[in-house]
Symmetry: C3
Subunit: 350 residues, 3 copies
Amino acid sequence: MFPKNAWYVACTPDEIDGKPLGRTICNEPIVFFRGPEGQVVALEDFCPHRGAPLSLGRVVDGKLVCGYHGLQMGCDGRTVAMPNQRVRGFPPVRSYPAVERYGFIWVWPGDPAQADPARIHHLHWAGHPEWAYGGGLYHIRCDYRLMIDNLMDLTHETYVHADSIGQKEIDETTPTTHVEGDEVVTSRFMNNISAPPFWRMALRGAGLPEDQPVDRWQICRFSPPSHVMIEVGVALAGRGGYHADNKDKVYSIVVDFLTPETENTMWYFWGMARHFKPDDPELTEAIRKGQGKIFSEDLEMLERQQRNLEHWPDRQLLALNIDAGGVQSRRVIERLIAAERAGATAGAAA
Amino acid sequence: MFPKNAWYVACTPDEIDGKPLGRTICNEPIVFFRGPEGQVVALEDFCPHRGAPLSLGRVVDGKLVCGYHGLQMGCDGRTVAMPNQRVRGFPPVRSYPAVERYGFIWVWPGDPAQADPARIHHLHWAGHPEWAYGGGLYHIRCDYRLMIDNLMDLTHETYVHADSIGQKEIDETTPTTHVEGDEVVTSRFMNNISAPPFWRMALRGAGLPEDQPVDRWQICRFSPPSHVMIEVGVALAGRGGYHADNKDKVYSIVVDFLTPETENTMWYFWGMARHFKPDDPELTEAIRKGQGKIFSEDLEMLERQQRNLEHWPDRQLLALNIDAGGVQSRRVIERLIAAERAGATAGAAA
Amino acid sequence: MFPKNAWYVACTPDEIDGKPLGRTICNEPIVFFRGPEGQVVALEDFCPHRGAPLSLGRVVDGKLVCGYHGLQMGCDGRTVAMPNQRVRGFPPVRSYPAVERYGFIWVWPGDPAQADPARIHHLHWAGHPEWAYGGGLYHIRCDYRLMIDNLMDLTHETYVHADSIGQKEIDETTPTTHVEGDEVVTSRFMNNISAPPFWRMALRGAGLPEDQPVDRWQICRFSPPSHVMIEVGVALAGRGGYHADNKDKVYSIVVDFLTPETENTMWYFWGMARHFKPDDPELTEAIRKGQGKIFSEDLEMLERQQRNLEHWPDRQLLALNIDAGGVQSRRVIERLIAAERAGATAGAAA
C-alpha cells in the first residue's frame, strides 16, 4: 500500500561513493550508481545476460560492469558492450528517474513519464549556512505507515523515550490536526514549562538561560508519499513562542524519510536539521549519536506491533484525537493510490 | 491439536517479578503481570489503542501501562485510563483465567466460564517441608505430544542419556501401562540391580549404602492436558521396593509440564521434587544443573523428529508395548478435544 | 528439476568415518553409514519406530542403532533387532543403491532396479600414481543448474576471480561447444599468452620456464546428471598446446560434482586432480586452500542470482555463444527427465 508515482529517498551520496548500491524500494530491486558525469543512475538490479544482480559489479568510467561476465550496462538500462559480443539486440532493463538533491538520492519507482524533479520535497534548510544537518538510516520490519502513525503522534515520546525527550506535558496537551491539500499538520504547543535536557543543552549553546520557563512546540508535517518533517523548539516563555524573535529561541527540524522496501519492511532515513550553532561539527555528531540511540528505541515496538497486527488482521484500531495526524495521512496516501490506479486505467484505455 | 479448556503452566513467579511477561500459550499471545493485590493477571498481549504488545510496557500500581502511548490497562482487560482521553468506549481485550499455585502461574486459554481452579493439577509435594524442588524452562520446536511420547517411554534414557540415568535394565524390563479415567500410568520395576550414579549420590546423602543391590522404579503418570509426573526411586533390594519403608529408600518426582506454544512449538517446564535432603539448597542447585544438562539432550532429537514427521506426514508410526503410554495419552487428548468441540457446538446451538 | 535415476556424489569417505551421516540428496533425506564389511549403506533417514532421524544414532558392528530407543537397523532397511521387541513385522525403510568409488560415495536416489554401478562416472585419474587430488564441499542456496551454467562458461573467471585465475584473454577468445551424446563439451584455446600466477607456479614446480609465452586451454565437459570436469593446462607456446608432449606442459582437471539437495539448494563437491608433482602433499593442501578460496567467490553471486530469478520468474535470460555449454547441458537434463517420466509411466502401465 504505497504510491509508486512519487519521489522517495533511496540512499545518501556516500552510499554510492565509487561503488554501486543494491536496494529494494517499493518492491523494486534497484541498483544505484554514478554515471560518467557523476550523475545518479537507478536501474533494475538485474543483468539481462543471466539475471545476476548488477549491484555486485563495479563502476568503470561511469558504466556499470556486471561482476559475473563483464556485461557493461549504460545509464539508460541498455547494454553498452560485452567482451566479444554484439549487444545491440540485448533487452534493456528498466531505468528509474533518480535525482541527487539536498544531500539525498531520490528515486521515482513509478511511471517515468510523470517524474518531475520539481516535485521533489523541498528542504529549505539543506545547504543553508544557518543550518546544520546530521542523520542516519535504519531498516525496520514494519509497514512504513506504522512509522507515519508514530511520528504524527508524539505522545509516544513520554513512554518510548521517557529518559530523553519525553515529558508529561506532551501527554497533557491536546494536539490539533489540520489538512492542507495533500499535507497533514499536527501541532502541539506547551507554554511556560521546564525545558527537558536536550533543549537545555541547546539554550546553553545559544547563550540563552536554560533554567527559565520556556514555551515548547512540536509541529509535525506529513507530506506525501511518506515524509514527516517535525519543527521542534523552545523560546523563553512569553516571547511569542514559535513566533518569537530568533534571539529568544532555539529550534530544529526532525527529518524523517520513510521509504517502503516491501509491503511490510521499510528504510528509515532519520536526522535533524538545526538552527543553532551550525558551525559545530562535533555538536552535529553528538546530536546524531543521541538521536540515533533515541530513535532506535522505537524499532522493537514497531516490529512487534507489526507482528501483532499480522496475528489479528481483522482487528480495528482506535482513532483518537492524538491519532488524527496518522489517520489523515493514511487518507492522503489512499487517495493518491486510488488516483494512481485510475490514471493507470485511463492510460491503458487511451 | 490441544485442548483449550484446561489449566496449563504458563510461567514461574520470578518471570513476572516487577514486569510484564509476553508469552504465547496455545496460539494465544498473552501478557502476564501482577495486579494491585499481587494477583496474577493474564490478558491478550494487544493494546486496544494501536495494537502494540502490552508486554513491552510496565506495571504501575497494579495496572499495566502500555509502553507506546501510556494507555492504562486494568486487570479485567478494560482500559482504566489514558492521558488526556476518555476511555469508556474503548473495546476490552480478552482476559484469561490465571492462578498462582504450587510455585507456578497457571492459565486457562479456553472458555473462561468453565475455568475452575479446583481442577488445577494437584502437586502434593509443593511447599511440603519434606520435599525440595528445582527446575527450569526450555523452548522446543516440536509438537508437545512428541514430548509426551518421550516421557511416557523411558527406554530412550538408555540411548539419549546413556551417560547419566540410562542403564541396560531399563531396556530389558517390559513396562506396564494402564488407564485410570483421564490419566495414563506406565510403570517399570527393576529389581536387584546396581544403582546408577544419580541414585548412588542420593543413597549416600540419605545415609544408606550405595554399593548394595537396589530395587529401582519409574512410574510415569500422564494427566491432561499435558502434565507428566514421574515417580522415580530406589530401595535397598528386598525391602519392598516402591512400598519399602521410608528409611530404606530414596525417591523423587520428575516434574514435566508440557505447554503448547503453537501447533509445532512448545514450552517445556522441567524439574525435580525430591524427598531426600530437602534442606540442602546447594544439592537442589546441583540437581537442577545436572537435570538441565540431561534434559537438553532430548532437544535435538525431538526437533529433528518433528522435521522428519513434517517431511513424511502420511507415514504411520509403530505403537509397541513401550509406546503404550504415549498412545493412550494421545487418546485421552483426542477425547478431550472432541468433547470440547461437541460442547462448543452444543453451546452455539443453545 | 533433476533426474533421480542417476549416480550422484553424496559425500566423501571421511564423512562416514565411524559415524552415520544424514544428508538430503534430491529431496530425499538419507543416512549414510558403513555396514559390517565396511561397505557403504544408504537408507531413508527415518526410524520406523517413531520417525527419529537414524543419523543421530551410532554404528555398532555394522548396524545402525537408533539414538532414540535403540532400534537396530540393518543394511537393507529392515530392522534387525530392538531391545525386548519382536521386529519381524516392522515396516522396512527405503534403501538406496550406494557405492564407494574413486574416493567418493555415490548414491542413486531413483529406481533401484536401474542402478548399474558400471554407469558411475569414470575418473581415470583417481588413485593413479601420476595424479594427486584435493577438494572440499560447499552448501549453496541455488538451483544446481546455475552452477552448471557457471562452470560451462568460464568467462566469469575474468570478473569473479579477477585476482587469481582470470585474465583478459579468456574474454577475448570465443569458446566452441559441441554435444557428444549426453555429454557437452565447451573448449577454449588461448595461444601465445602470458601464464597467470597459478600456472607460473605449476610450470616452476615442473621444472619448466615460467616467464615464456604459453598456450593455455580450458575444456569443460558436462556429464549427466550434473558433473563438470574441466581440463585445464598450459604448454610452452608452439609445442602443440593441449597435444604437446608431457615434458612441455602442465595440466590438471578441475573436478565439480553438483548434487541437488532440494529444488533450489545444492551440495558442491569441488576439487582438483593435477598431473604435476603428485607426490607433494603440501602442494595438494596449498592448492586445495587456494581453490577453496577462489570457488567461495562464486557463492554470493549464485545465491543472489537465484533470488533475482525467483523475483522475476518469467523473465527470459540470454543464450549467447558463451552460454552454449549451459544451454546444451540443460537440454540433456530435460531429455533425461522426460525419458525418466516416460519410463515411469510405461512401467506403471505394464
